[in-house]
């Protein structure tokens, strides 16, 4: 495959994968590593004539897989989660306290739910795309998002107000189908 074609396809992908993995793992260094790994593997695939249909989606899946694998190597996912604590931020902190609050709320979720939340809210993927990217069933996507939203409602609304219940528009994620 022509390198220039791949370069066009891959533009911006590394940034997206870094962002997704960063929110899932809470570790910017790990996120950069996973994104880089995904890019290398994508190029390797392209070289072998097996160019993914969507480099963006393919790299996101591989990046998340590599992230999960790395987390597992550090120990069980749950232990890794508790041990990680605040993410190692190597970039300037965001000025908006809301983003830190949201980020920490997401990091408090199980890894599977984190992935689904990030893919849904950051990338705006639909059920099928999340299922394909995270390599789980669509039912598991809804289940994870349902439980994640409940947990996020509790952690992001200390006044016990449940934003998921506001009648501004029902999302199917509120109840698993």
């Amino acid at each position: 495959m022509d390198a220039e074609v791949f370069a066009r396809e891959a533009t911006g992908v590394q940034q997206q994968v870094t962002r997704v993995v960063y929110l899932v793992a809470g570790d910017l260094g790990l996120a950069e590593e996973c994104a880089q790994e995904a890019m290398i593997r994508a190029w390797s695939q392209a070289q072998a004539g097996r160019m993914p249909d969507s480099v963006r989606a393919w790299c996101t899946t591989v990046g998340l897989n590599h992230c999960r694998s790395q987390l597992r190597r550090r120990g069980a996912e749950q232990r890794a989660l508790h041990r990680l604590g605040p993410p190692r931020v190597t970039a300037p902190a965001t000025p908006d306290p809301l983003s830190d609050e949201v980020r920490h709320a997401v990091l408090a979720l199980p890894v599977r739910q984190r992935e689904v939340v990030v893919l849904h809210y950051l990338l705006d993927l639909d059920v099928a795309a999340i299922a394909s990217t995270a390599e789980i069933t669509p039912g598991a996507v809804r289940n994870a998002l349902f439980h994640a939203r409940k947990a996020l409602s509790r952690s992001l609304t200390p006044d016990d107000r449940d934003p998921a219940a506001t009648p501004t528009g029902a999302s199917p994620a509120e109840e698993p189908t």
């Binding site: 533009t11 590593e33 290398i40 993914p52 969507s54 989606a57 965001t94 039912g139 109840e175 698993p176």
Partner: protein
């Protein structure tokens, strides 16, 4: 969109605003420090090319449209099926292995497109893969965990699961041909009863160098460690074992067989064998060999393979006696023996079903024999020098034999051959499901809607019944609460685009409690999501999540099969016509359901 949705979207996007596309020096540095090493021969080239590509991207700096939107499913181009080995024609052929080192105690696995070989080479543990379509070998990256012993490998339809044979402390990993990467699967938890038995020296020599692994379509059963790997939850659990496991340890090191319903381990003895269900959560004792067939009170090793949904057992002595067991009925049947072919105790060591017919190697160095319509037929002659020994695997309908050992002196040995069965040996036709499942209870009377939640056992409640099928992926779910307060998500999956035509499913109403009994045997060409599937559908219980969700993710409670069976029994559709209507409904609504691009736009019900 709710307040929570807005908070999450805004918060997450702001949280990553500071992460920009890496600069070129950062990319180069990251490339150099990438932690997962590609094969040494490819690594430097890959890094250089990737760096060059990314430099090009940085120089170009153009905003381009990626083919497909960010909402596109991650459609990964999978390796094409390439039945090139069989193209060589009937008989024995040599497999080119010039770029592969001799490996000791190699393990083999066929992925549908690649032959994966792993073993200890002079330079350490190595894994290589051969693609018949390109006739090329590729060294795969090293697995993420250290390997201490001989490994076992099994293909699950999506990954090659590899387990180190070290006992009790072991490691496991999975190779994904699609992602071209390993996943660390942690350590299979060795059953305490086996650890205790091992400490007393009760650990018979296995017939294969690595652990005995079986893929059931749902789980990987590791009989050597007494553990079960679930790819869906990505977690290990304990294999159900008898209390007096010491009396059965010999069976755990035979070659277990998946007969389409259960994993069967049997030996040539009047003592009972063992059978496990597809999830390894329950076991039972098998009807022992009749005394007029077996060698009483003496466990004689035997090799086994699946044959027409029966387990074919070949005695290693007793003049090569052969018997077969229908594990579902407990019926043993004497088969034509390998008369006079077994000359040495310990033979045969290999048995495998190739193209639907059993193939057995009588003794080391001798040509394998295949069970034809008129008895056992030798696969010989082979060209001079061909080895029939070593490790066997089935690869795309042919038998691959791999004979290698780098510790052989003076010359390390490596000879790989494959045998294409003759076309005049007709493969046995698959049994009809109606024959395989004679005990399916009669259809229950229907209720309103196409699901029939009425008739749930006492204590069960329906959290959310799905009155209509199915979502955009052809699934419908029923949410139940067990008497213990656990939630169960039951998913009905309708295969689309797979090898099973919808019409094939119509004669079968949604299965009831006989689901696990009637599950089809895994097939090499079926899509991963269809493995272990009922013809036309399968029921998938995602997990029980009464525990806090954080715990469910990493340590789901072992699934109680009896609970599921009771629930599933209540989910039978009204009748076959209802089932047919469901399938038609799925097809008609499918397109409309695929159009929404976001989760919020997806209809809740159709």
């Amino acid at each position: 969109m709710t307040d929570l949705d807005r908070i999450m979207q805004r918060g997450l996007r702001q949280a990553v605003e500071h992460i920009d596309e890496p600069s070129e020096p950062d990319r180069a540095r990251a490339l150099e420090t990438s932690s997962v090493a590609p094969p040494p021969a490819h690594r430097s080239r890959s890094l250089a090319l990737a760096a060059a590509v990314l430099v090009l991207a940085a120089i170009g700096g153009a905003i381009v449209t990626i083919r497909g939107s960010a909402d596109d499913p991650a459609r990964v181009t999978t390796a094409p099926t390439a039945p090139r080995l069989a193209d060589a024609g009937p008989g024995w052929h040599t497999l080119e292995t010039e770029s592969v080192p001799p490996m000791t105690s190699p393990a083999l696995a066929w992925t549908g497109a690649e032959l994966v070989v792993a073993g200890q080479s002079p330079a350490g543990f190595e894994v290589h893969a051969y693609r018949p379509d390109t006739e090329q070998w590729q060294r795969l990256p090293d697995p993420p965990s250290e390997i201490f012993d001989s490994v076992g490998m099994v293909w699950t339809g999506a990954e090659v699961v590899m387990v180190d044979g070290a006992f009790p402390a072991s490691t496991a990993a999975a190779w994904s041909p699609t992602d071209q990467m390993w996943r660390d699967l942690g350590s299979p938890p060795a059953a305490q009863a086996l650890v205790d038995a091992g400490s007393r020296g009760i650990r018979p020599n296995p017939t294969q160098p690595g652990p005995a692994l079986v893929w059931t379509g749902e789980r990987v059963l590791d009989l050597t460690h007494g553990a079960v790997w679930d790819p869906a939850t990505r977690d290990w659990s304990a294999l159900s074992l008898p209390d007096d496991v010491v009396a059965f340890t010999g069976l755990l090191y035979t070659n277990p067989v998946w007969d389409g319903t259960e994993v069967v381990a049997a030996a040539w003895t009047t003592q009972p064998g063992l059978a496990w269900n597809a999830t390894g959560s329950t076991h039972r004792m098998l009807t022992p060999l009749p005394a007029n067939i077996a060698t009483p009170n003496y466990v004689v090793p035997a090799v086994a393979t699946e044959f027409e949904r029966r387990v074919l057992l070949v005695s290693s002595t007793d003049a090569g006696s052969v018997a077969s067991l229908d594990a579902r009925t407990g019926e043993w049947r004497r088969e034509q023996g390998l008369d006079g072919m077994i000359r040495t105790n310990g033979c045969p060591r290999q048995a495998m079903s190739i193209d639907g017919r059993p193939v057995v190697q009588p003794c080391s160095g001798e040509a394998p024999v295949q069970l034809g319509a008129d008895g056992w037929i030798s696969t010989a002659p082979a060209p001079v020098g061909h080895s029939y020994s070593g490790t066997w695997t089935q690869a795309d309908g042919v038998l691959v034999t791999w004979d290698s050992n780098w510790t052989d002196v003076p010359t390390p040995r490596l000879e790989a051959n494959y045998w294409v069965p003759p076309s005049d040996v007709e493969p046995s036709p698959p049994e009809e499901s109606s024959v395989a499942c004679p005990d399916v209870p009669p259809e229950q009377p229907g209720g309103s809607g196409w699901y029939v939640p009425e008739g749930l056992p006492d204590g069960w409640t329906v959290d959310r019944a799905v009155a209509q099928a199915a979502d955009s992926s052809g699934e419908a779910q029923l949410w139940l609460t067990t008497p213990a307060g656990n939630a169960v998500v039951v998913t009905l999956k309708v295969p689309r685009g797979g090898p099973l035509h919808l019409d094939d499913a119509v004669p079968h109403p949604l299965p009831g409690q006989e689901l696990s009994v009637c599950a089809q045997a895994p097939s090499g060409e079926l899509a991963a999501e269809l493995r272990g599937a009922w013809p036309g559908a399968y029921l998938l219980a995602n997990w029980l999540d009464a525990a806090p969700s954080a715990e469910v993710e990493t340590s789901p409670r072992p699934f109680e099969v009896a609970e599921l069976d009771a629930a599933v029994a209540a989910l039978r559709p009204a009748d076959t016509e209802t089932w047919r209507a469901f399938l038609a409904d799925v097809e008609s609504v499918d397109q409309a359901l695929l159009e929404p691009e976001t989760l919020a736009d997806l209809p809740d019900e159709t």
